[in-house]
């Protein structure tokens, strides 16, 4: 029982106070409602500054804000999120900064295929992500495994996704040879 309580306390503590965001932070292109926060001190106020194209949507003055990245191009934005906490005496603390990397994924166009076509590599940009979907084997597409049909394949990285459509058509059906 004591062990269980210890584990629960550790997990709760980590969930409440843990630093989960690595600098730079990564967001997906055109993401909206991304929430940023610092540990709250009830008597403090928080002044947030969002640069690099992101838009502060809600929460200015509090310890938690939401940011929209609609229309922001991919790339690294140094010091994109800044917060300055002021205490009850209106004395400011040291600014806390966070870099943001806006991630825009894309995948190569492949197909259409016939069921007997060979395996085709799936290439995502930037490299390093993972492909999933019907007929996907080790980041390649196997028409023979997928079979005839329309498929949506997903390329994923750092919590962002993009998709491509792949078609596997029926091959011609040839009848038996006739002799007149």
């Amino acid at each position: 029982m004591k062990k269980l309580l210890t584990v629960l306390l550790v997990c709760f503590g980590l969930a409440t106070y843990g630093q989960t965001t690595i600098n730079p932070d990564t967001v997906c292109v055109n993401a909206t409602g991304e929430q940023y926060f610092v540990t709250n001190t009830p008597t403090s106020t928080y002044n947030w500054v969002v640069t690099g194209g992101g838009t502060l949507s809600t929460g200015q003055g509090t310890n938690s804000i939401t940011v929209d990245y609609t229309g922001v191009g991919s790339g690294l934005y140094p010091n994109a999120i800044e917060v300055i906490e002021s205490n009850a005496a209106n004395c400011p603390g040291t600014p806390v900064l966070l870099d943001v990397f806006v991630l825009d994924l894309s995948g190569n166009v492949i197909g259409p295929f016939c069921p007997g076509d060979p395996t085709t590599p799936l290439v995502g940009t930037p490299l390093g992500g993972t492909w999933t979907g019907t007929g996907v084997v080790a980041n390649t597409f196997q028409p023979s495994t997928a079979g005839v049909g329309n498929y949506v394949l997903t390329y994923s990285m750092a919590g962002c996704n993009t998709t491509i459509n792949v078609i596997v058509n029926n091959g011609p059906v040839t009848g038996p040879i006739q002799h007149f």
Partner: protein, 187 residues
């Protein structure tokens, strides 16, 4: 010759700078350090004022660092000796000598000898209160008191002024508390 030099030296030292105050003491309501909003009461006592060359005491000036605000008198000095008058709390007064006084208490003569001060030799006890002002910087919180004789203010013009150094009550700076913010997290 040696006797003459001794007399000259003694005279010279008396005319340049002489000290009249002794047995000064104070009580402070809390020892510090202080933060914005802290309120401190100070009791100051001058045990004896020696009337060197008939210098009379005329004012107590409170010297405060810039971190203090809201200076309030609580107990006025008592006693005018044989002189009629009263101790007035004043924020600023320019004496006939040009001495810029304030804030503090100054003796206002109401008898036939204006500007002579009090003929009392003490003791004098007084109390005042100050508050640490709002600030985000470690401002100066020093407190000291100057005791001023009428020779310095122009009421008595016979040399041998009582020019006592300020009596130090507190030295320190505002304890500034700035917030420590955690790293930014992203859900």
């Amino acid at each position: 010759m040696r006797k003459l030099l001794t007399i000259l030296c003694l005279f010279f030292s008396l005319t340049v700078s002489s000290q009249c105050v002794s047995n000064q003491s104070f009580l402070i309501s809390s020892p510090g350090p202080y933060s914005p909003g802290d309120v401190v009461a100070v009791d100051y006592t001058l045990g004896t004022f020696t009337q060197l060359n008939i210098n009379w005491i005329i004012a107590f000036q409170i010297n405060l660092g810039v971190g203090w605000t809201n200076l309030i008198p609580l107990i006025n000095p008592v006693g005018g000796g044989t002189q009629t008058g009263y101790w007035l709390w004043d924020l600023q007064n320019t004496y006939p000598s040009g001495l810029n006084f304030g804030p503090g208490w100054r003796f206002v003569n109401t008898g036939f000898v204006p500007d002579w001060g009090s003929s009392s030799t003490g003791p004098f006890t007084m109390r005042f209160r100050v508050t640490v002002g709002p600030t985000c910087t470690p401002d100066d919180l020093s407190i000291s008191i100057n005791v001023i004789g009428d020779c310095l203010t122009g009421g008595w013009n016979n040399g041998a002024c009582c020019n006592d150094p300020a009596f130090n009550i507190y030295n320190g700076n505002v304890q500034v508390v700035t917030p420590i913010t955690s790293n930014i997290n992203h859900y």
